[in-house]
Assembly symmetry: C2
Homo-oligomer: 119 residues x 2
DNA sequence: CTTACATTTGAATACTTGCTCAAATATAAT
DNA sequence: ATTATATTTGAGCAAGTATTCAAATGTAAG
């Protein structure tokens, strides 16, 4: 991004506007975190898992059946969702039950759905 | 997903629950589309572009300055956002001004922000 | 017509990511 | 203890992606 960008920085069209927008934008760190949250929901397998857990608590094997993806792949994705604090788990004997850890996720998904319906 | 999954399909823990969830889940096609929308917002550069356009209409060069990424890279990402109907553009002489094409995006991003603040 | 500038585009590259496979844990049942 | 079942984990591979670079458009100005 270096050179090409410096050229453009010199050639800003409307400096006032750029400064104004820059001042109003959130911190870059905040933007990255938001992007990461979207990234967690940006994969069909993961989104499907979350949509299922939106309805009911499920064990890994049943999630695999619902989403129709191998248990191993599901487990990998569940770890990612766990790290993102989107899902939590509960052990019961040999089995591990997963459920949503956060209820805002529902709102985010529903808003996205509305967007698509109206477009 | 084939073999490993078939094994697990045979070994469903709670068939009733799996059927119930399956019936309530949206169509797979719908899930994919929603995932794609999230994917568009899942990259820091693209999210930053959208956050900037949430505030004001901007030309490509000024977007490049605000986001601090080369004009070329910005242009590539703008095309993607255009294809997703998230942004639209308007020509004025040599310059091209971009703005948001959809207002639901604001809601989606704000909801995500709230999620992160409260976690 | 030539030059300058804003933007777009295609190819190449480096990086990321989702899945599979095999092996490791962990817990319950025989 | 041994076996069976549920889940996790790490390595490796194939596919996807964000950026760069060079070149192509398109438009305005000299």
């Amino acid at each position: 991004m270096a050179d090409n960008n410096i050229v453009c920085s010199v050639e800003i069209i409307d400096r006032e506007k750029v400064d104004r927008v820059n001042a109003a934008l959130p911190q870059m760190k905040e933007t990255s975190e938001t992007a990461n949250l979207f990234k967690a929901l940006a994969d069909p397998t993961r989104l499907r898992i979350v949509q299922a857990l939106l309805l009911e608590e499920l064990c890994v094997c049943d999630i695999s059946a619902v989403v129709d993806v191998s248990v191993s792949a599901i487990s990998h994705q569940l770890r990612l969702l766990r790290n993102m604090k989107i899902v939590k788990n509960r052990k019961e004997g040999k089995m591990v039950y997963y459920s949503l850890d956060d209820d805002h996720v529902r709102g985010i998904i529903e808003t996205a759905q509305i967007h698509l319906d109206e477009t």
